[in-house]
Every structure is written in C-alpha cells, then in structure tokens.
Amino acid sequence: MRPPSLLKQEFLKKWIMGLQRCSSTKKNMNILERKKAIKLSADVAMASSRNGTTCWSRALIANASKDGNDKHLVEQILGPESERLIVKKVSIGALVCNKRIRSKKILKRSCGIRRTRKCVPQVALASSIAKWLVRKRTQVLKSLIPGGEFMNEVCLIKETLDYIISLRAQVDVMRSLASASEQVNHS
C-alpha cells in the first residue's frame, strides 16, 4: 500500500486544483454552495487518487458526475482521465451491478412470502439472531459505502477497508487546511 503521505499529497494536489477551478468558474457563491463545492472536489480528488482500482471510487465518481451541474467540475478535476474513469469502468460496472441487483430482487421477491414471516426471528436461537444482526449491519454498511449495494460481502469489507483509509487521509488533509486557513484569518 502506498504510504499515507503520498496519498495525502496526491489528494491535496487534486483537491486544490479542483477548488481553483471551482472558484474560477463561479464567483460569489453562498456558503452552502461553497461547502458543497469543497466537499465535492475533495471527494472526487480522493476517489481519483485510487485511479479506478476500487469499486467505491468508481461509484463515487459516477454519482458525482450524474448531476449535470457537477459534471463539469468533475471532469475538470479529473482532467484527461475523466473519460476513462467515468465512461468505461463505471458504465460496465453499473451494468453488471444492475443485472445482479435485478436478479437478486427477483429471487427475493420469490422468497419474499416466506421471509416476511421471519423478519424478526421468533426462535431464540443465538445463531439466527446473530445472523440477522449481521445482515442488518451489512445493509447499513452497504448504504454508507458508495457503490456498496452492488457488492457481495467479501468485496464489501475490502472496499470498506480502502474507503476508511481514504476517508482518514481526506479528513487529515482537510483538517490541516482548515486550521491553516483559520490561523491565517485570525492573525
């Protein structure tokens, strides 16, 4: 794995570039817009540092570029890679994922009747309760990780690992920048 400092460097570089472009394109944004732009550029920068190797990064970029307003920003931040990252991998991944989801839904619907009766485990078996808890938690986790709904459990945990690392780096960099700016502003 890359050393965290490298990751942070890359992230910061891309992020600042994105912020620059943000500020150049639109002046006089209100605070919420600014915040959104900052967050978006940070997320995209973080995702692009993964270079499309992880599922969550691709999903994040895909989600970001879905919205028309942000799409330009995303493309600017990503630069020349944007076509590669957005078009090819995401679309293919989405196709596959959608098929998988559809098939899973069909399967669930067919077994749905049986399951509704069992939504709360009546039998006080520790194992079944544990399984149910785990299942609930994984659902929540899937909702948290970008693109998590498409993954099976094994991939989900791997993606979570990567996502946590990236998030941490992102938080550290943002925090340092925020405090630096604060310092500058106070003094």
Partner: protein
C-alpha cells in the same frame, strides 16, 4: 505424461546429485541463445555430471534429465528465443534418453565426445533437424536413433509417435524410469505408454510449462510449502490410515506428498515408490473410488489459466494452509487422463485425507504448491464436507481475514469479538469520518469566503507568528497527544523524521505551502462525535518539522505568486 517427466525430474533432483544439478543449471544459465552453444553446453554439462558422480548406467539418464530440467528454466529465464531453445533441449533429452536406453554398454561419454569434439559438425547435424518444426525434428531424430540402435520391436505400438517410440518402448528405459519416477516396471508401462500418447509436438511443449511451473512454484511458494508441509503432516497422516482399503499405501502416499516439501527427506524411499506406483496405473478407476470416499472440493478457475504459474497465490496464501498440494499439479495436466480425474475430484467430497489426489501425484515427488488457479480447500476434521459448506467456509474465512484488517484500522475494535459488534463499530467509524468531512468542508467554506486558498497569505502569516503562540492555539483533545513534550527544535532538520512513526515522510521540501500546512498540523479541532483524531502523533511530529521548515524554508524562498506556488508546491507537497 508430462507428469511422468516432471516427476522423474523431481526425483532426479531430489534423490541425487544436488550439487551437480546446481552446477548443471549454472552451466545452463551461461547459455546464449545460439543453438550450437546451447547444445554444446548441454553436452558438456551432461559430461560433467557423469564425471562428477560415480554413477551407474542409469545416472547419465538422471543427470541428463536434470540438466534438461534445469535448462528450460535457465533458457526461459535468459533467452530471447525460449521456444526454440527449449525445444532443442527437449529434443536433446529425447534423443539422449533414447540413446541411453538403447545402448546398454555405450557410455554417455562416448556419445558426448563426438559432440564435444566435432561441435560444429555433430551439433549442426544434430541441431538442424531441430530447427525445423517439431514433428519433423523428432522423426529425423528418431530415424537417426533407429539407425544406431535396434528397437526392441515395440515401435509398432506407437505408430503415431515415432519419437517417443525409442525410449518409451524400451523396457529397460521403463525400468530406469520406474526406478527414478517411482513407477513399477511392467504394470506401469502400459499406463506410461498410454499416458505418453501425446503427439511428439505436444510433449516438449507440455513438458516445458510443467517444468517451469515446478521451478516457479517451488521458488515462489517456499514459505507456504513449508507451512503446508509442517501443518498438514501430522493430522492428515493419521487420518489416512483408517480411510481406505489402500490405507497402507495411502499413508505412504500422504507421507510422500508431505515429504515433497523441502524439509522432508523421505522422498527417496523405494518402498514408498513402489506403493505409489501401484496407485498410479490403476488410474481413473481407483481415483474415482477414492474420490467418492475422500475427495476434494475445488473451485476451478477457467482452465485456460492452468499454466499460469507465477500468478501470486497471495490471496490464497491463507488457504495455503489447507491447500492440497497435489491438486496444483493436476492443473497442469491437460492431458487425456487429466480431465476425467479432475471431474471426479470436483464431484466428490473432500476430507482431511488427500488420498484421491495422491493418485494423481507425481506430486509425490513435487513439493506441495499452492495452486495457481484453483482455490483448494480441505475440509477439516469433523466438518461437513459437501461442496456448499466448503464454499461457505472459504467465504467465511476470507471475510474473517479481512475483518482482522479492519480491526486494526478501526480504533477500539481490538477487544471486540463477533461480527455484529465489529460491524457496528465499523459503521460508526465510517459515519463519523463522513461527518467530519462534511464539517470540515463547511468550516473551510466559512473560513474562505472567496473560495481561494491563499497560500501566500498562509505563508506570510506563518512568518510572523512566533513560535510561542502556537501552544496557545494548540488544544489537544486527546490526552495521549504528545504534542507539547516534543517542544520546538527549529534547527533540527531531518532527524525529526526518525520520530515519525505513522507517516513516512522522508524528504523536507522548502515549499512555503508545505510549511504552512505543516505548521498548522499541530492544531487540533475538537473531535466530532467523540472520535479523536486517528493520528495524534502525526500532528505533533509535523509541527516540529514545520518549525524547522518555517525557519529554513521561508528564509530562503520568497513568497511566490499564487499560481507559481501552487504549481511548484503541489509537486513537492508532503504532509
């Protein structure tokens, strides 16, 4: 069939002449791509092998094989014409085997001498057939060999494989082969013959990858092999005993397969050889029988990948502890026998005993290798053995392995056991991190009303700030934060790096942006939702570095323009 060859090669490598083998391989590595040189060196190596060991008649065969074994690897490693070089080696091998087998009294030296003496002439006439396409080569070699020797009349048995006829048909050869490859003579000869029923063209190519794979796998998977060997040795050998009718031989088989790991030196036992040899020719029937009782579950990845050796079994490294060594070899057999056996393997259930696999084993000689393309699983004792549960088990183990990583990553997860609670912690942590991002972006938005990151301003402010003011600004949230005790050592430069545990900062850059960022690392924002900064130590280190940077960097660099600083700084930024 290639199993035979590989097995024999393995046997040769093991049983005798390790140093000579090494010397041969070294000799091989000196090869150039030139065909003449290649054959010449092979010849000389062969010659050396003979001289070094006071071996009997069969030894030249062994050393020839070993030299041939080493040569493909060497030539593959070094040559730019791997195909032709290897083919030449192989054909040399075939030729020599034929020669050896058929000439009881003809010493290899005499055979070699003409090669050595009349290099150009002999080798050329020997080589030029090899340059042409394989089948043609072999036929020409065959005719040459036939001219020299009398075939015992088994040539008609393999009409399609003239090249193979000379040595495969010779019972003497078979005996020697059996001796080295643990095949008993007569019974296996038929099997050997049948298994050798590949075309002449196929044989060299098939031989090559197996040898290569043997080499690569052995080199790369040494660790796991040792682990496997040691781990698997004890329990499985015990369980082998009561399992089958062939329990005795099975036990030996199991021991053999284990013994193929480098630590175990039991390989060369003849009694084991004979027992193993009995297994092999029985062939599919026994395999099927065995597999029904104890077979292995395997998830096969497309067979096209069967020959990919260096694919790292890193992901499977954990599974390597349970891996059945022998199944890896099966992946290499695309031969006629391979398919049937593998199907039975796949259909059957796996138990701790790996008898079924030992049938196929040539891997009795081979070291246990983690498979390249299969995920091999062995059911543990007392566990369910149907394929579904095995798949489940593999899946569960993968998940638990990854959860362990997560435990290290998420703070406070060390004491927690159980998937549900750990998932809970993970969810909380991810949520908190995401919320921190939101908060920080909001904060940045408030701090920067104009949405510009004024690095220059950051720098200039840093310049005027005394070092004393920083402690006031610092408010450590985490009691464990060692920010202050380190103090300020402005003149220190690189030695600060030694204190950095988490971050691998190795260079100091004079970048103003860098300085600004580093300076403010010491500031701690109040944690959100009770989660403290994951790397409190890092911040403190950076602060110290920052001091030195500010001292050194700002003094030397003038604040650059906005664009310039960004452009220059972004490259060198380190946090």
């Amino acid at each position: 069939m290639e199993k035979d060859k590989v097995f024999m090669a393995e046997g040769l490598n093991r049983a005798a002449a390790q140093p000579t083998w090494n010397s041969c391989s070294f000799g091989m590595e000196m090869q150039t791509n030139e065909l003449n040189c290649a054959t010449e060196q092979v010849g000389s190596c062969f010659f050396n092998c003979n001289l070094d060991n006071s071996m009997d008649q069969s030894d030249p065969f062994e050393s020839a094989l070993s030299s041939m074994v080493s040569s493909p690897a060497a030539s593959n490693a070094g040559s730019t014409l791997p195909g032709s070089g290897d083919n030449i080696m192989i054909r040399e091998l075939i030729g020599r085997l034929g020669n050896i087998c058929n000439s009881g009294d003809i010493s290899p030296q005499s055979f070699i001498k003409p090669n050595n003496n009349n290099n150009s002439a002999n080798t050329s006439c020997y080589i030029t057939p090899l340059n042409s396409p394989p089948k043609l080569n072999l036929s020409m070699m065959d005719s040459r060999i036939r001219g020299n020797f009398n075939l015992p009349g088994l040539g008609n048995q393999l009409p399609n494989h003239p090249s193979l006829a000379p040595f495969s048909a010779d019972p003497g050869f078979a005996e020697r082969a059996a001796r080295f490859s643990c095949f008993s003579s007569s019974r296996n000869f038929g099997a050997l013959n049948g298994q050798l029923g590949l075309t002449g063209a196929e044989f060299p190519q098939r031989l090559l990858p197996t040898m290569d794979s043997v080499k690569f796998s052995r080199v790369s998977n040494n660790q796991s092999i040792k682990v496997t060997g040691s781990q698997v040795n004890v329990p499985d050998s015990n369980e082998n005993l009561p399992q089958d009718g062939n329990s005795g031989s099975d036990k030996k088989n199991s021991r053999l397969s284990r013994s193929s790991s480098p630590e175990n030196a039991e390989f060369g036992d003849s009694k084991e050889e004979s027992s193993v040899s009995q297994q092999i020719p029985v062939g599919d029937s026994s395999i099927k029988r065995q597999n029904d009782a104890n077979a292995r579950k395997r998830k096969s990845i497309p067979r096209g990948k069967a020959k990919e050796t260096p694919s790292p079994a890193a992901a499977d490294a954990k599974v390597a502890a349970e891996i059945d060594e022998s199944t890896a070899k099966r992946s290499k057999q695309d031969g006629a026998a391979g398919n049937a056996k593998e199907k039975t393997e796949q259909n059957g259930n796996a138990k701790a005993a790996n008898d079924g696999n030992q049938k196929q084993s040539k891997e009795n000689a081979k070291p246990p290798e983690p498979p390249k393309d299969y995920i091999h699983v062995r059911a543990r004792r007392g566990q369910a053995t149907d394929s579904h549960s095995l798949a489940e088990r593999v899946r569960r183990e993968k998940i638990s392995e990854r959860m362990k990583f997560l435990q290290d990553l998420v703070p406070g997860c060390n004491k927690v056991t159980g998937k549900a609670v750990m998932l809970d912690e993970i969810i909380n942590y991810v949520q908190s991190l995401q919320r921190q991002v939101e908060f920080l972006s909001m904060k940045l938005a408030t701090v920067n009303p104009r949405m510009d990151i004024n690095m220059e301003a950051l720098l200039s402010k840093d310049m005027f700030q005394s070092r004393g003011s920083l402690p006031h600004a610092l408010y450590s949230v985490d009691s464990s934060e060692p920010g202050f005790p380190f103090g300020y050592q402005p003149q220190q430069g690189l030695p600060l790096n030694s204190r950095i545990s988490n971050n691998t900062e190795t260079q100091f850059s004079m970048n103003p942006l860098n300085a600004a960022l580093r300076k403010t690392q010491g500031l701690q924002l109040p944690p959100i939702d009770g989660f403290t900064d994951a790397n409190p130590k890092v911040a403190s280190f950076w602060e110290d570095d920052l001091q030195s940077i500010v001292q050194m960097g700002f003094g030397q660099n003038q604040p650059q323009s906005y664009q310039g600083s960004i452009a220059a700084g972004l490259v060198k930024i380190e946090l």
